[in-house]
Structure formats: structure tokens, C-alpha cells
């Protein structure tokens, strides 16, 4: 029996390269060129079948991603960015690709600044600020950052 190693593959290890390209084309079309997600659904569904993914789950994830992306692009709220990044993973979109979709591009300096602006001034170098995570304590325990 042959096993396909996942160790050497990138973050999109759950899907094939061709599906990855289809997804990226869809995302660029919808997010940047105001294309319609609806027209791509059949193709997406076919690939899901081929790749043993649950289509309805992926569709819901895309809807949520596009809605949140719209919210972020309207507000540039840094707290939304953290969640956008999370939701992007469910849509097989990596962080650098996500940044390409943002208007204006994410200001990494401001994120780094809020990370260092911890009013509790922990002696621990690995503390995050309440501004960067929306005020939740222990968000890392549930994978929020």
C-alpha cells in the first residue's frame, strides 16, 4: 500500500495543486474583480467530490470569508484581520495570499505595535495585547492567535 507523505507539502496539504489554483482564481475574481461566487459553485463542487471534501462546508466557509473580507475592507479593523486570517485557512488561502486581497494592504507595523503595547507589561516576552486580539484572554488556547 502506498502512502502519500504530507510532511513535505505546504500549508494546503489537504488539497491538490490544481484545486489550489482553482480556488485562488475564484477568490481573486470574487474579491478583487467583483465576480459572482454563485457562477463558480459547480466547479467547486466537482473538485470537492474529487478531493473528498464536504462541499457545503467549504461553501459556507467561503461565504463567511467573503463577508468578513468585505467588513475588513470597509473598516480596516485590525481585530477583524485576526479572524479573517483564521477563516482564510478554512478556505485554503494562506496569509500572504490573503494580504493581496486587502485594501489597503495590512499594516504589519501596526500589528506588531499592538502586540508590544500590552498595558499589563508582562515580563514574559510572549504576551499579546488586548488590542490585537479583541480583548479575549486565552484566545491562543482555542487557536484564535
Amino acid at each position: 500500500m502506498q502512502f502519500k507523505s504530507k510532511i513535505t507539502r505546504n500549508n494546503h496539504s489537504a488539497i491538490s495543486d490544481s484545486f489550489q489554483k482553482i480556488i485562488w482564481a475564484l477568490v481573486v475574481d470574487v474579491a478583487i474583480h467583483s465576480g459572482h461566487f454563485e457562477t463558480r459553485k459547480k466547479l467547486l463542487e466537482k473538485y470537492c467530490e474529487d478531493e473528498n471534501l464536504i462541499y457545503t462546508e467549504l461553501e459556507n466557509n467561503f461565504h463567511l470569508f467573503f463577508e468578513l473580507l468585505e467588513d475588513y475592507n470597509k473598516t480596516n479593523d485590525i481585530r477583524l484581520y485576526q479572524f479573517l486570517k483564521l477563516q482564510a485557512r478554512y478556505c485554503f488561502i494562506d496569509e500572504s495570499s490573503l494580504d493581496f486581497l486587502l485594501t489597503p494592504p495590512i499594516n504589519r507595523e501596526s500589528i506588531d505595535k499592538t502586540r508590544n503595547d500590552n498595558k499589563y507589561s508582562s515580563q514574559s516576552p510572549i504576551a499579546v495585547s488586548s488590542a490585537a486580539n479583541g480583548g479575549i484572554v486565552g484566545g491562543h488556547l482555542i487557536g484564535l492567535y
Binding site: F83, Q87, I126, G135, V137, L144
Partner: protein, 284 residues
């Protein structure tokens, strides 16, 4: 699972919403957090009960949550209480009223706080444990001269105003005598004290969080903390929505992503919990 018995309680007090002219409401993410809070406490640390009032009970019933608390639901304490406390000012006083009715040792657990692991090792040698020290922001923890006081009330000379307030989203008190002392001090401040602060926070955080530290200092009991820094990544036990609730209330997409992450995190640990599995079956 066998665990040390640390009886805890949740509180849903709806009178502050009513006093402020609003219907009591919790969004789906807040409800899920409350469910996980109760179930994870039961799994690792002890029993938990709910104190609520009639409106809260109807809310719980409507959301099919009556069996969530293995210690049952008490509506008598909060519904029938006749203390002269203004719920619009002292919006968290329901927690203190519930604590008065609960025997020590006891744990007061906010519904937006989840303890993810057993903490008996932390509690067993402690008299008082709170969540973490509060940042003594003078805009929130006002100078005593700026607090609104009831008539004929003055602060005792022995109050140490330099002691750091404690966040009481989690509060363990071992000793009944200390609990009564703390609650009596708090009641003396809250009774007939109707002056509304502009920011709606300072009066309450004094009565609950600053007074706890002041009373512990007076009783010579060190306050232990679950977290030395609320935002440290070395925290392995506590999830607290805290200020994040505001973002959840503003954005239903964030609610969905947060809920998905929370479920993903606890689903294995609660895989044999019938209540949780039924909840997932209905909501996914």
C-alpha cells in the same frame, strides 16, 4: 472523571437589562461559551449550579438549557431578593447575592469564562483566588473622593487604597467568615446608593473587585491569582471573553468563527457528554 469537589455557580441576573430598558439577550457565541464553561467545570473541577431570576429561567428554558447545570437552578435567591440595590448601577450585584446564598468553599464563575483544566492544585492551598490583578486605571478605579456614596456613609479608615484590585470573573473563597466580611462591606456600599456614574462601571468594580482586595488585605489573607498576566501565552487554563464580548456583539461573522474554534477545541474532551453532543446536533 474523579475530581476534587469545588462547587461553583454561574449567575444570570436579568434585572440590570430591565432596569436599563432593554430585553435580556445573549448571542449564540455567548451561549456556547456558557455551555462550555459549565461542562468543562463539571468535567475537571466539580459541580456547578445556576442562580437566575424568572426572566433568566425562561430564557434558559427557551434555549433548552435547563439540564446544563448538574447542581440545578435556583431562582429564589435572585427573584425574591429585596435588598435596596439599584441594578442599573450595580449590574453585577446578582453575583454577590448568589455568593451570599452559597456555602464556602465556593467558586463564582462568570458565564463568559472557561476553565480548561483541573485547578485543584492551585486552589487547595489558597484562601482566596481571583482571576488576575486588575490594572488600577484611575478612570475605572476612581479615587475614593470621586465615588458616589449612600447617605451617611464614609469609608472605614482601615481601607488600603493602594492594594491592586482583583478581577473576579473567577473567584474562589474558602472561608465563610471572610466571605461574609467581604459581602457585608460591599452591601454597605451598594445599599441605597443610587448615584449613577457617567461610565456605568466605576461603582460596580469598586463594590466587587476593589473591595475584594481591600477586604483580603484587612483580613490578612493573600489573594492568589490564576493568571499573573491575562494576555500571557503561558496561560494554559483560562479562556475569558472579557472585552471580546463587544466585538462578538458587533459582528456575527466573528461569532461564527469564534464558535467554530471553540467547538473544535473542546469536541474531543466533551465527546461523551450527552448534553454537548445534543447541542452540536441541533446547531451544526
Amino acid at each position: 472523571m474523579e475530581h476534587a469537589a469545588y462547587p461553583a455557580f454561574h449567575v444570570l441576573w436579568t434585572k440590570p437589562s430591565v432596569a436599563n430598558g432593554k430585553d435580556f439577550a445573549m448571542n449564540e457565541a455567548e451561549i456556547l461559551t456558557m455551555i462550555v464553561s459549565a461542562l468543562m467545570w463539571q468535567k475537571y473541577n466539580g459541580t456547578i449550579k445556576l442562580f437566575t431570576d424568572h426572566t433568566g429561567y425562561e430564557f434558559i428554558k427557551e434555549h433548552d438549557l435547563l439540564n446544563l447545570w448538574d447542581g440545578g437552578i435556583n431562582t429564589e435567591v435572585l427573584e425574591n431578593n429585596s435588598y435596596p440595590i439599584n441594578p442599573g448601577v450595580f449590574w453585577a450585584a446578582g453575583k454577590l447575592l448568589a455568593m451570599e446564598a452559597q456555602n464556602c468553599p465556593c467558586v463564582m464563575l462568570d458565564t463568559d469564562l472557561i476553565i480548561m483544566r483541573p485547578i485543584n492544585e492551585v486552589l487547595k492551598n489558597s484562601d482566596v483566588t481571583a482571576l488576575h490583578k486588575e490594572n488600577p486605571d484611575p478612570q475605572v478605579y476612581l479615587d475614593p473622593s470621586l465615588l458616589q456614596l449612600p447617605e451617611n456613609f464614609s469609608f472605614p479608615d482601615y481601607y488600603n487604597w493602594n492594594i491592586a484590585p482583583s478581577n473576579t470573573a473567577f473567584l474562589y473563597i474558602k472561608n465563610e467568615e471572610f466571605k461574609q466580611f467581604y459581602l457585608n462591606e460591599s452591601k454597605q456600599f451598594m445599599f441605597h446608593n443610587t448615584g449613577k456614574p457617567a461610565e456605568l462601571v466605576s461603582q460596580m468594580v469598586f463594590a466587587e473587585q476593589r473591595l475584594l482586595s481591600i477586604c483580603a488585605d484587612r483580613a490578612d489573607l493573600p489573594v492568589n491569582y490564576l493568571l499573573t498576566d491575562p494576555f500571557s501565552l503561558s496561560n494554559k487554563n483560562v479562556v475569558h471573553l472579557w472585552g471580546f464580548k463587544n466585538l462578538l456583539r458587533q459582528n456575527d461573522k466573528i461569532q461564527k468563527i469564534y464558535s467554530k474554534q471553540l467547538i473544535k477545541t473542546v469536541k474531543d474532551e466533551l465527546s461523551t457528554n450527552l448534553f454537548f453532543q445534543n447541542y452540536l446536533a441541533k446547531h451544526q
